[in-house]
C-alpha cells in the first residue's frame, strides 16, 4: 500500500507537468493580451499534427518537433492575431466567439488534410522505458522529461517577463495600457508577439503530449477545458497561478482517483473548483489591480 501511494505521488507530478505545459500558453495570452483564446486546445492539436509530420515526413523525434512546433504554431497564432483578434481587442465577447470560430475552422482544415483517423506519434528512443523509482512501478523516462520540460518552460517564461526589456514592456502594458503607449511602447506589437509566444507554447504542448495521448482532430477540447480549470484555480494575471493551480488539480485528481475512482476524482475536483470560485472569484493568485486604461 505504501509503495502504491509513493508511485501515485510521482505520477501525480507528471499530471501536474502536463497541466502546466498545456495551460501556460493560455495563461500568457489571457494574462497579458486579455484575450480568452477558445482555440487554445486546437492550437495544441495542430502542434500534435505538426509533430506527427515531423516524425513521419522528416524522421525527426520529439526533440526536433519541439522547436519546429513552437515556430509553426507561433506563426499560426501570429496570423490569427493579425487577421481575427486585432479588430476585436475591446470586445471580449466577440473575441470569445471569433476564437471559437477559429477552433472549428482548424478542426475542419486538419480533417481535410489528414483525414479523421488517429495518428501515431512515438516517443524518442532514449526516453523509452523507465527507471526504478521508489514505489511499485518503474517511473517512465518520458514523464520525467515532461516534468523537467514544464519547469524549463516556466523558468523561460519568467525570465522573458522579468529579465528582458520586452518583458518589462509586457508588464507595463499589462498594468496600464494607455500610460505605456504614452511612454512610447508599441502596445499592438506587444500584443501580437505575446499572442504568438502563447500559441507557440501551445504548439510545444502538442508536440510533447502526442506520444502519450491520442492524435486526432478533436483531441484539443479536453486540454482546453483542463487549461481553463488551471487558470480559474490559480488565478490569471500572475504566472505563479499556473503551477499552483496545476499542482492542486493534478495532485488532487490523482490522489482522489486513487482513493475512490477516476469518475469520483474528477467530480470532487470540479466541486473544489466551484468552491474556489465562490470564495476567491479571482483564483488563488488573482488580485484586484489598478486597471486604468486596461482593455476590458
Amino acid at each position: 500500500m505504501g509503495d502504491a501511494v509513493l508511485t501515485q505521488f510521482f505520477s501525480g507530478f507528471s499530471l501536474v507537468a502536463i497541466l502546466i505545459i498545456a495551460a501556460l500558453g493560455l495563461a500568457v495570452i489571457f494574462g497579458v493580451a486579455g484575450v480568452i483564446n477558445m482555440a487554445h486546445g486546437e492550437f495544441i492539436m495542430v502542434g500534435a499534427y505538426v509533430a506527427s509530420v515531423v516524425q513521419s515526413g522528416l524522421g525527426g523525434n520529439t526533440f526536433w518537433s519541439i522547436p519546429i512546433c513552437f515556430v509553426a504554431v507561433g506563426l499560426l497564432g501570429l496570423v490569427v492575431e493579425r487577421t481575427v483578434i486585432r479588430g476585436l481587442y475591446d470586445r471580449p465577447l466577440e473575441t470569445l466567439l471569433a476564437t471559437w470560430g477559429v477552433s472549428l475552422i482548424l478542426i475542419v482544415i486538419i480533417k481535410m488534410i489528414f483525414g479523421t483517423e488517429l495518428h501515431y506519434v512515438g516517443s524518442p528512443e532514449m526516453l523509452q522505458g523507465g527507471f526504478p523509482a521508489p514505489g511499485n512501478l518503474p517511473f517512465p523516462w518520458y514523464r520525467l522529461f515532461l516534468i523537467l520540460l514544464s519547469i524549463l518552460l516556466l523558468v523561460l517564461t519568467f525570465v522573458l517577463f522579468f529579465r528582458t526589456k520586452f518583458g518589462l514592456a509586457v508588464r507595463a502594458v499589462r498594468r496600464n495600457r494607455s500610460m505605456s503607449e504614452a511612454m512610447g511602447i508599441n502596445t499592438a506589437r506587444v500584443d501580437m508577439l505575446i499572442f504568438a509566444y502563447g500559441s507557440g507554447l501551445a504548439g510545444v504542448a502538442g508536440a510533447v503530449l502526442a506520444p502519450i495521448k491520442t492524435v486526432s482532430p478533436t483531441m484539443g477540447f479536453p486540454y482546453a477545458v483542463d487549461s481553463f480549470m488551471v487558470l480559474v484555480m490559480g488565478g490569471v494575471g500572475n504566472l505563479l497561478g499556473v503551477p499552483v493551480g496545476a499542482a492542486i488539480i493534478g495532485e488532487g485528481e490523482t490522489i482522489l482517483a486513487f482513493l475512490f475512482n477516476s469518475v469520483i476524482g474528477k467530480l470532487l475536483v470540479f466541486l473544489l473548483i466551484v468552491l474556489v470560485i465562490r470564495i476567491v472569484p479571482r483564483g488563488i493568485f488573482g488580485y484586484q489591480e489598478r486597471t486604468l486604461g486596461h482593455r476590458r
Binding site: M1, L15, E117, L118, I212, T214, V263
Partner: protein
Amino acid sequence: MKINRRRFLKTAALASATTAAFPYFYTQKFAKADESDEIKVGILHSLSGTIAIIERSLHNAELMAIEEINAAGGVMGGKKLVPVVEDPQSVVRVFRQKAKKLLLQDKVVAVLGCYTSASRQSVLPEFENNNGILLYPTLYEAQECSYNCFYTGAVPNQQLDDFAPWVIDKFGPRHYLIGANYIYPKETNREWKALLDNHGGETVAEEYAPLGHTEFATNINKIASLQPDVVFSTLVGDQIVAFYKQFKQFGITAEDIPICTPITTEQEIKGMGPEYALGHYTSFNYFQSVDSPENAEFVARYKATYGEDEVTNAVMEAAYFQTYFLAQALDQTGTTDADALITEGLPGQEFQAPQGKVKIDEKNHHTYLWARIGQAREDGQFDIVWKSEDWIRPDPWVDLLYPDKDCDFTDQRVIDRIKSGDRDRSGTIDI
C-alpha cells in the same frame, strides 16, 4: 396585424393540416419509384463530427458492396441499387431527421446505418412508425430487438462466452476491469462478471473513466499494486490509445499482465503504433488477418478503392455483408414490400462473408457469427490464436443474466401484437 386568439387558432389549424398532408403528397409523387429499374437504399453514417473516424469506413464498405452487387447484374432481375447518402454529422438528433427524410421523402427500401447505440435508439421510432427497415452493423450491448431492425454486429454472448473461459484458463482467474463510463462497458462488464463467477474467476476491481479522460497513471498504479492476472478493458475511442501507450510506458508488458478486450481493432492499433499493442488480446468475429479467399478479396478490393494505408475491421465487415443480405432478400422475395422482406426475405438469409458463413437468425433478427481471439503482433495485425468450431448463435437476452427472457418474432403472441398495430414492436417475450 393584431393576433387574437381566434386568428391564432385558425392559422395553427391550417398549418398543422398542411403539415399532416405533406407526407401524403410525397407518397403520391414517389409511389411509382418501385416500377422503375432502380432501388433506393439509404446509407446513414456520419461523415463529419466525432465518430466520423469509424463511420466513414462503414459508409465506404457499404458503397463498395453496392458497387459489386450492381456490377454483378443488380437485384430482382437487373435492377440497380442506388445509394442515397446522408451525413448525420455525429449528432443524435440529426440521425433522426435524416432517417425520417430517407424513409418518407426518398422512400428507400431499407437503410444501412448508425454506429453508436444512442444513434440507433434515436432512429428506431422512425423506422417503427413508418414500417422501414434498418440494418445495423455494430457490436452492441443487445437487450433489444425491434421488428424493423436487423442487427448484423456481435452481441455480448458471441464475443464473451468463449473468451472468458479461455482467458481464465490461459492467464488466471483474477481480473481487473476498466471501462468507459457509459452503457456499453457497464453492460459488458456485468456479463463478464457473471462469466467469471461461472468459471471460477474473480473481479479484483472494477473502474470506469469518464469519456474523454485519457490520463491513466492512477489506474495503472492500482493495477501494479493489485497484480491481477488479466486486465479486461472496455475503454473506447481515443481512451484505448492513451491507455495502451501509458501501460507500456509504465513498464508493464503483455507477458506481465495481458490486456484482454472485445473492442480494440486494427484501427486503434494503427493510431497508437503497433509496439504498444504488441501481445495483447482482442476477441472479435473478424480480423483483417482472417485467412479466407473471401477476405483476401475483400481486403484487396477495399485497399484498391480507398488507399493502400487503409485497414479493415470487424464493424465494416458487418457493414459489407449486411448489404449482401439485403440484396439477396430482395432477389428472393422479388418485392420491395417491407413486411415481406422483414418476415420472409431477411430472416434465415445466409452469406459467405470474409469471416466465414454468416446467417440472420430466423427468430430474433440478430446474426450468427464466428468467434475469434487475436493477439496483436508487430505489424499491427492480429495472430488468430483461437477460433470457434462453428458459428455462434446470437442471444440478445443473454441466458446468464436474463434466463427468463427471449426474443422471437415467430412467436404467435409477437406476431399478433405486431399485426394489431400495437406501438410496441419489439420481439421480446417472457419464457
